[in-house]
């Protein structure tokens, strides 16, 4: 998959394809999410694509009551930072009942069609609920 560069555009192209992708540093092995042209851990420019399983836990969250214009229809909604089992973290909307969200919740990647875009989000893992 090396033909795509480690760019923001590539990340969102993968999202459209239903893949959560980061870059793995070929020098130090650090997994960069979002993908980066320069490894955050060691500064190396050598990387390969890395696909996440999509499983993770909620590290922290907020409930947005005053949303940006674009997200008006969704409010109130949860945004959280999800720590994936592979070790990297990412910010996304969390599909959960507002009164059931808590740090440590087991999550799995999901996608939402919203205003013509495919949005990255996470939902509570089935086994748990």
């Amino acid at each position: 998959m090396q033909e795509r560069d480690a760019s923001i555009q590539s990340f969102y192209e993968f999202i459209k394809e239903g893949k959560l992708m980061g870059t793995k540093c070929l020098k130090c092995g650090y997994i960069n999410l979002p993908p980066r042209p320069i490894c955050q851990a060691c500064g190396s420019k050598d990387w390969e694509w890395f696909q996440f399983s999509g499983k993770g836990k909620l590290e922290t969250y907020t409930i947005i009551h005053v949303p940006p214009a674009k997200f008006k229809d969704l409010a109130p909604y949860i945004v959280g930072i999800v720590k994936l089992i592979e070790g990297s973290s990412i910010t996304a909307i969390i599909k959960s009942k507002l009164d059931e969200v808590k740090i440590g919740l087991d999550l799995i990647v999901d996608y939402m069609e919203y205003k013509g875009e495919k949005l990255l989000c996470f939902k509570v893992e089935e086994s748990q609920s």
Binding site: P34, Y61, I63, I64, P68, V79
Partner: protein, 390 residues
């Protein structure tokens, strides 16, 4: 040794200025600083002005030129600096470097922002909210529906979970800062609030409610820096800048090791204490960046006023109140004095200088003061330490 002194400070009232534009607010603050320093316009050799997003709110860029122009100091060089909410902290730092370089003796620094009201563009809360979000990661935070209060809410949730910090701790910070602002005629809000009011306000981004958030304000601030050797020509109460540092961090929270502490603040503070050859316990008074109540609590920990996780305890013990061990935000802080983003860093210097001179509204006994100015959710932090010398 930086060899830099502050010989004048000035600021506008923070709040709503329906009839004034950016350049007009800037001129008001700059003239006050110039008069305070007892210098003339011609004495200014360079200017550095912090502003976050005049393009967004007033459709006006090229701020350096317009600020020099309206102050009638052309052809003096004027640079606009943008580091989100730390824009004027960074502008001040550029001014310090300019004097330390030996090329200039007297430099004007400051900041300005029109965030809400104004004769040229009339903004509303939604537009202002979107404007503030410019300080966060467009591709990976704004795009995920995160707001600016949401960023600090993520830190608050994590802090509460890790350290058992309570909503009440946050509300107590709001109460303290409103109390300090109550007597400050330049503050956006001059009213005290009760803990009950602070606890029960309308939710903005859980767990942060309206009283955990600073307001959208208009305002400007300015300071005159001078080669320390020359300061005695202008004043007898000499205030030196004994440390000036800045550090960065990832713009997005999710790429950081911790959500309960700002690395940029810790690094800048450590470097500042080293530069000033002091320790955190030597600080008598501090202005910290309380854009949200949780930010002030985390600042206590990052600056070493207490151990990590003990910010709530410090509040409970009243140590950061006036009369406490280390009074914080004696002017009301961003929370109640207001937060015209680009003006905030130098407005902190205004209060520190007033305190060190013995001219403050809520005067405390202080010889050394610290200003902690954070950009965005911690992607930037500047630290300045000022000392009265005799």
């Amino acid at each position: 040794m930086l060899n830099v002194a502050v010989i004048g400070v000035g600021m506008t009232k923070f709040g709503r200025h329906e009839n004034k534009t950016i350049r007009e607010l800037w001129v008001e603050a700059a003239i006050k600083a110039i008069e305070d320093a007892k210098i003339s316009l011609k004495d200014i050799q360079a200017a550095f002005i912090g502003c976050f997003s005049s393009e967004w709110w007033e459709h006006q860029g090229h701020l350096g030129s317009i600020c020099a122009d309206w102050l009638s100091i052309c052809p003096t060089s004027a640079v606009r600096v943008e580091n989100a909410c730390a824009s004027s902290g960074a502008a001040l730092r550029c001014g310090v470097l300019a004097i330390a370089s030996g090329l200039y003796d007297i430099v004007l620094v400051g900041g300005v922002e029109k965030m809400y009201s104004g004769p040229r563009k009339l903004s509303d809360t939604a537009y202002a909210t979107e404007g503030l979000a410019l300080a966060s990661d467009e591709a990976y935070e704004q795009a995920q529906g995160l707001t600016f209060p949401g960023l600090y809410a993520l830190m608050a949730t994590a802090h509460m979970h890790k350290y058992g910090t309570k909503k009440e701790h946050l509300s107590k910070i709001a109460v303290k800062n409103h109390k300090n602002a109550a007597k400050n005629p330049l503050a956006h809000f001059q009213k005290e609030i009760t803990l009950e009011e602070a606890m029960n306000a309308r939710m903005i981004a859980y767990p942060l409610n309206l009283y955990d958030c600073c307001p959208f304000s208009d305002g400007a601030s300015a300071a005159i820096l001078c080669k320390a050797d020359l300061a005695r020509r202008f004043t007898d109460t000499i205030i030196h800048i004994i440390a000036s540092t800045q550090a960065s961090d990832t713009i997005a929270l999710h790429n950081r090791e911790s959500y309960v502490s700002l690395r940029s603040a810790r690094v800048a503070a450590q470097e500042a204490y080293k530069m000033a050859k002091i320790e955190s316990k030597d600080i008598d008074i501090a202005e910290v960046h309380d854009c949200f109540t949780i930010a002030e609590l985390i600042a206590y920990e990052d600056l070493g006023f207490c151990k990590p996780g003990e910010g709530g305890k410090l509040i409970d013990e009243g140590e950061t109140e006036i009369g406490g061990r280390i009074p914080v935000n004696t002017d009301g802080g961003l929370k109640a004095k207001g937060h015209p983003v680009g003006a905030t860093g130098v407005a902190m210097i205004y209060e520190i200088v007033k305190q060190l001179r013995g001219e403050a509204i809520n005067q405390v006994k202080a010889e050394i003061g610290l200003a902690h100015n954070v950009g965005g959710s911690g992607g930037t932090c500047t630290i300045h330490i000022l000392k009265r010398v005799s």
